[in-house]
Symmetry: C2
Subunit: 389 residues, 2 copies
Amino acid sequence: MSDLVLRFPRAAQSSRIRIAAGGLDRLGAFTRGVTGAGRVVVVSDVRVAALYAPRALASLRRAGIAAELVAVPRGERSKRVATLDRLWAAFAALGLGRRDAVIALGGGVVGDLAGFAAATWLRGVPWVGVPSTLLAQVDSSVGGKTGIDLGAGKNLAGAFHQPRGVLVDPRLLLTLEARELRSGLAEVIKMGMACDARLFAWAERHAGALSRGEPRALEHAVRTSIRVKAAVVRRDEREREGGVRTALNFGHTLGHAIERARGYRGLRHGEAVAIGMRAAAALSVRAAGLEPAARERLERLLDRVGLPRRMPPTPVAALLDAMRSDKKRAPSRDGAGRRGNARGRAQRGRNDTRDTRWVLTPRVGHASVPRSMSGRLVRAALLEAGARD
Amino acid sequence: MSDLVLRFPRAAQSSRIRIAAGGLDRLGAFTRGVTGAGRVVVVSDVRVAALYAPRALASLRRAGIAAELVAVPRGERSKRVATLDRLWAAFAALGLGRRDAVIALGGGVVGDLAGFAAATWLRGVPWVGVPSTLLAQVDSSVGGKTGIDLGAGKNLAGAFHQPRGVLVDPRLLLTLEARELRSGLAEVIKMGMACDARLFAWAERHAGALSRGEPRALEHAVRTSIRVKAAVVRRDEREREGGVRTALNFGHTLGHAIERARGYRGLRHGEAVAIGMRAAAALSVRAAGLEPAARERLERLLDRVGLPRRMPPTPVAALLDAMRSDKKRAPSRDGAGRRGNARGRAQRGRNDTRDTRWVLTPRVGHASVPRSMSGRLVRAALLEAGARD
């Protein structure tokens, strides 16, 4: 007998991104416009909540929306299943229904966590992002990736769930710590180097203003980076293998590996990505035809905004292991990934010649799809970036 | 300045449903066909795993698919966040990648849990359902609803995630307990009463064979129920308000309320739904023009397959509270739902006249969209169904 095949057409989803200095005070009208919600739960972290939740809640209530705040502890440690469970319980206690909405007021951690809670509450309710860090404004607020970390790795559980709207208020960056600001600038520079030569050249001309956190420069950086990212994500929402979205991983092969090998301590994400971009540029000169002068431009720009050149001493073998068990690919099947034992790692160390995959930049503003790079070339780049044998 | 609006078109998803006696032994080829996976994790419960996992794993391995089994405890208690977390950890340890798949071998609990784990692992991997109970074969395996229970209620966290394929092997029903079988027959009868008069009439003619679990009758019931449900779900995947999928909730307003008010103990889901259908039919006579003879046909059919007439004594107020905080609608906002206190419930008890929403059947094979019913009419129906003041 024949099978029954059910086809489920999917309505297109849309996300409205508004960039407006001082926009936080108009969050209520924005939320009403993109969701129609009569009730929202605002998820934030304790620091951002102390700074901005009163204005957010006041604006929501002025718009006739019942709004409650749930604040989670700061930092990556909140991106875990216990906190997700706490949010679900709060949604239940507050009576959040299918036509209501979740608002994520904070940095990447809050956006990932609250977006995932919205993706899974009652099988999906609308959400609105209000990113409060440069990194979140230029990068993680656009694209619909949500999720939490598990014991086995970062972002392993999650969903693609596009926010109905993202309200980007560059004035929120005025309270950002300098180091957080620099970490965000790494993603702006990445967007330029991998996707948009004009943005890169603009950042070179305004490196001083950017590193001092001047509002007009930041607003331009945010606006342009979002445009660039939106154009990429629109073409490849799900980051298909070989899709254009993989360009956004420039600098992230090594960046994630450093963070992972060091247990996510010490370095900010943007700092690790900066080191990763330098290494990827070195490999690009050797294997993708990037001109040495272009690599020099990248190095100089990263220097000028104060991003680091080298990682703290980290074993090459640990970095290679971390690269191979990155979620971007399936976890390794040969047992060489996180299941590898210490003896195996020690034996491999110096002579590990297995390939890893890198996004390279043949020229400023252009990235290749991820390419396999030989262990020998990669080892040299890692040692140059501060890894040790 | 103008907003940036991102539109994300969505590719249609499809689900292949195969009904084949003895199909379990061809699970490998089926899985390869619908997912292309090279590696799968089979999620099951301990009882079903003992009965059927060896054959499932053998078939998968014959098809060249690396397969590992994860068995969870039996029963609804496995549909919770701790078990979900355990599955994610198992996926990590087994190296389940984006092109791999999850197989749910079991009843509704296993399908909901494993489907939700698949929906959220690496932001979504394919899954295949192999339903082992009549209830799961005719109902929960088709439709893509996945999820877990929270402390605050059933199925509160979840996702719509269509399985790539569902392999329905009616022979798995041969090991089903009689009471489980009857519970599944309630959903077959529901499908007939609410959506398909021919199925209903066929069930009347074969009530004896169905209640004895005769394979040919069961296979026909499964095949027809799936066809009917598929036709409904195809038109209204997300159960929109007023959409046709709400017809599938016939008998469930009260059925869920009974389960909830009694803490999900004592009655099987289908038994509670049978009581709910009887009450909904009584209301349909009074408020939707159902002919008394048609109601009588439903009552008689439910009697013949051995489904209960009345619930164990349960307070009317508890049932009404449970109906109002059903996830099908937003949790109540007036504090009268699960946040209501005991005194409030006691005061309301006898005189509670607030409306509740019911799917009614104006005639056999046809359901209305959910309608508000007056507290007075509902009270009478609840008392008739065994509730007490």
